[in-house]
């Protein structure tokens, strides 16, 4: 009767930790020690499993692919003969797409973050945008591919893709066609949509770390909101913004699904020369090689993965260096 009373009571008010420990552990002190030890064992086993998985992953890919790594692998185009094939086209494609993605996503993402953190009042409109960004972060990347295909590659079907409207000469890198088709520009902009929520959220977090007293000091001297943001808040938060931006770019480099939906050609023997050039990216080339059953392609896929992981590692190292440099420069 008494315990029943205690239980109904506990559901109506928050229990204190002491009550919980006392109520739920009838076993002896020694028994509880054994449970504790056993749980620690489970913890270590599971954590070791996670580490082991990473080790197996890296080792198995290295074993499959390291024999194929050579200068020739980096400088050759894809080929039906596995011994001649290389990643030149997808490597350059990834670089082009990533640069376009960065140029588009960083200003827009940081701009959105500045608007939300520095310029907007706490209003319904603001929380609507915030909720919207949280939801966009959960949208599968393949759905962004559909958006990119319809909006960028086909311009919603408004322009005729057989006879596109052109601007400039094909020799210049900024040669443009409408609709974009499945060129590097469409690829980069599609990836921009994928990573935009990440850039916005990490930039917001960066801006929030800047103490309010700095803003107040600047505003008190008569600086406008934008002068305060540009001269005070942004310089103070730029290392964190850059780190978040680079992490977002490494996400973009690893994405294959949105690019795949754009309908890029599977077999490419050229590097991009302008914004409309056909391209493929490293993850997509790895996917294509992995799907082939014939011998030799499996090793090519593994070697491609090593190159991809090396690119990602370089980007992450860059993020660390930039953070250190800028932090020191800002004192």
């Amino acid at each position: 009767m008494h315990s029943l009373g205690a239980r109904t009571q506990s559901s109506t008010r928050t229990r204190t930790p002491g009550e919980i420990v006392a109520a739920a552990t009838p076993t002896s002190q020694a028994g509880r020690r054994i449970v504790d030890r056993a749980f620690l064992g489970v913890c270590i086993a599971f954590t070791a499993l996670a580490v082991l998985l990473l080790v197996v992953l890296v080792v198995s890919i290295w074993q499959d692919g390291h024999a194929r790594l050579s200068w020739q692998f980096l400088s050759s185009f894809a080929s039906r003969k596995t011994e001649e094939a290389g990643v030149r086209a997808p490597l350059w494609g990834s670089i082009w797409v990533c640069v376009i993605c960065a140029v588009a996503a960083l200003p827009i993402g940081v701009g959105t973050a500045i608007y939300l953190e520095e310029f907007s009042k706490r209003s319904r409109f603001r929380s609507f945008i915030q909720l919207n960004i949280a939801n966009l972060a959960g949208v599968p990347s393949i759905v962004y591919g559909i958006l990119g295909l319809t909006a960028f590659a086909r311009a919603f079907g408004t322009a005729n893709s057989e006879s596109p409207i052109t601007f400039g000469q094909p020799e210049s890198f900024f040669y443009l066609q409408l609709p974009f088709g499945h060129g590097v520009l469409a690829g980069g902009l599609t990836l921009m949509l994928v990573v935009l929520p990440i850039v916005i959220v990490s930039s917001q977090e960066a801006l929030r770390t800047v103490p309010g007293s700095l803003r107040t000091a600047s505003l008190a001297l008569g600086a406008t909101q934008w002068q305060t943001t540009w001269n005070i808040t942004l310089p103070a938060s730029i290392p964190m913004i850059m780190t978040g931006g680079i992490l977002a770019m490494s996400r973009a480099i690893g994405e294959a699904a949105p690019i795949l939906v754009l309908g890029v050609p599977l077999f490419i023997r050229s590097t991009p020369t302008n914004l409309m050039s056909d391209f493929t990216v490293l993850p997509l080339q790895i996917y294509n090689w992995s799907m082939r059953q014939q011998s030799g392609f499996h090793e090519l896929a593994a070697a491609g993965i090593i190159v991809l992981l090396a690119v990602l590692l370089t980007l992450n190292a860059l993020a660390v260096i930039i953070r250190h440099r800028l932090q020191r420069a800002n004192g």
Partner: protein, 323 residues
């Protein structure tokens, strides 16, 4: 002390900026301010435009799919045969694709949710700080690996292992291999987000429980985990959303046969894998198979969006605030 120094540099910078600014009139400054404010607002509105454009595209294309004479909405939502490409008579019943997605997601969740939570508890409650400083970067590395790499891993390592050591019935493509790879992919999400919410539980709660004679296990499972439950459930929902939307792993390792099966050794097709099949194939751009992929994308979008919304609501409604 350093704060004072910061403020003084800030004020001097602001003063310098204002000196530059005084040459211009006040009206010009207000004008610039308006233009900048407008362009920042435009950036923010782009994210809303993105959502509505996705919705519009999916709805318009799905509507034109359902308007086709060969398609019935009733069959689509209740049918258990998905045969859009083969045979004389095409069937568009979504359930085999949903079943395939759920099978792969359940396998991934069964692996990653408990393991991820235990790793999080270990990192937050048990691990010495030196061990933690090694393990956190390892989790970050795992989280940064592109999904196509996990797909290759499933095809090259997990499935051969299952075939050789578990059962001969595992073929080249199977749900278990793909599901485990998806599980490895979402493991760091569960572990690091759960760990964040475990660490946010104030120390005083732990101290009180220790003072009552609780062991570390008692404190972790009866005080810290319940206090962080909203964050843990949110991390689970986020991980499940990722698993449902994951594309490259299932396209590589799960196969391309849409079937209603619960056998993890079978080949299954998920919603995302079907979309990959259509967009990489030679399906004509305005044909019925092509349009069906938009209807599938709509279902996928609705499922993932609802999970995200539920996760956010959960985080807000059940957050326990400690000050």
């Amino acid at each position: 002390m350093s704060n004072v120094a910061e403020i003084s540099t800030a004020t001097s910078r602001a003063a310098a900026a204002n000196n530059r600014g005084t040459a211009r009139s006040r009206a010009a400054r207000i004008g610039t301010e308006r233009v900048i404010r407008g362009s920042l607002l435009a950036c923010a509105l782009l994210s809303i435009a993105t959502t509505f454009t996705i919705l519009a595209i999916l709805l318009v294309q799905s509507a034109s799919f359902f308007a086709m004479p060969q398609v019935s909405a009733w069959e689509f939502f209740t049918g258990t045969t998905w045969a859009p490409l083969l045979g004389e008579e095409k069937h568009f019943g979504i359930w085999p694709l949903i079943a395939g997605t759920l099978l792969v997601t359940s396998i991934a969740a069964a692996f990653a949710l408990p393991v991820g939570l235990v790793v999080a508890i270990y990192l937050s409650e048990y691990a010495p700080s030196r061990v933690r400083s090694i393990l956190k970067p390892i989790l970050e590395v795992l989280a940064g690996i592109p999904t196509v790499v996990y797909g290759f891993f499933a095809l090259a390592v997990i499935t051969p292992f299952l075939h050789d050591h578990v059962s001969e019935s595992f073929g080249t493509f199977n749900a278990l291999g793909a599901g485990l790879a998806v599980g490895i992919m979402i493991l760091p999400i569960v572990a690091s987000l759960s760990e964040d919410s475990l660490r946010a539980v104030p120390r005083s709660l732990r101290d009180a429980a220790f003072a009552m004679g609780g062991t570390r296990f008692d404190v972790s499972t009866k005080v810290v985990v319940p206090a962080a439950l909203s964050g843990i459930v949110a991390s689970w929902l986020l991980a499940i959303t990722r698993a449902i939307g994951e594309t490259m792993i299932v396209a590589l390792a799960a196969g391309g046969l849409a079937s209603m099966t619960l056998n993890p050794a079978d080949e299954v097709q998920t919603m995302t894998a079907y979309m990959v099949q259509i967009f990489t194939g030679d399906a004509p751009a305005y044909g019925i198979e092509y349009k069906s992929s938009f209807a599938v994308a709509t279902i996928l979008f609705v499922i993932t969006l609802s999970l995200t919304v539920v996760g956010n609501l959960f985080l807000r409604a059940f957050r326990e605030e400690y000050e």
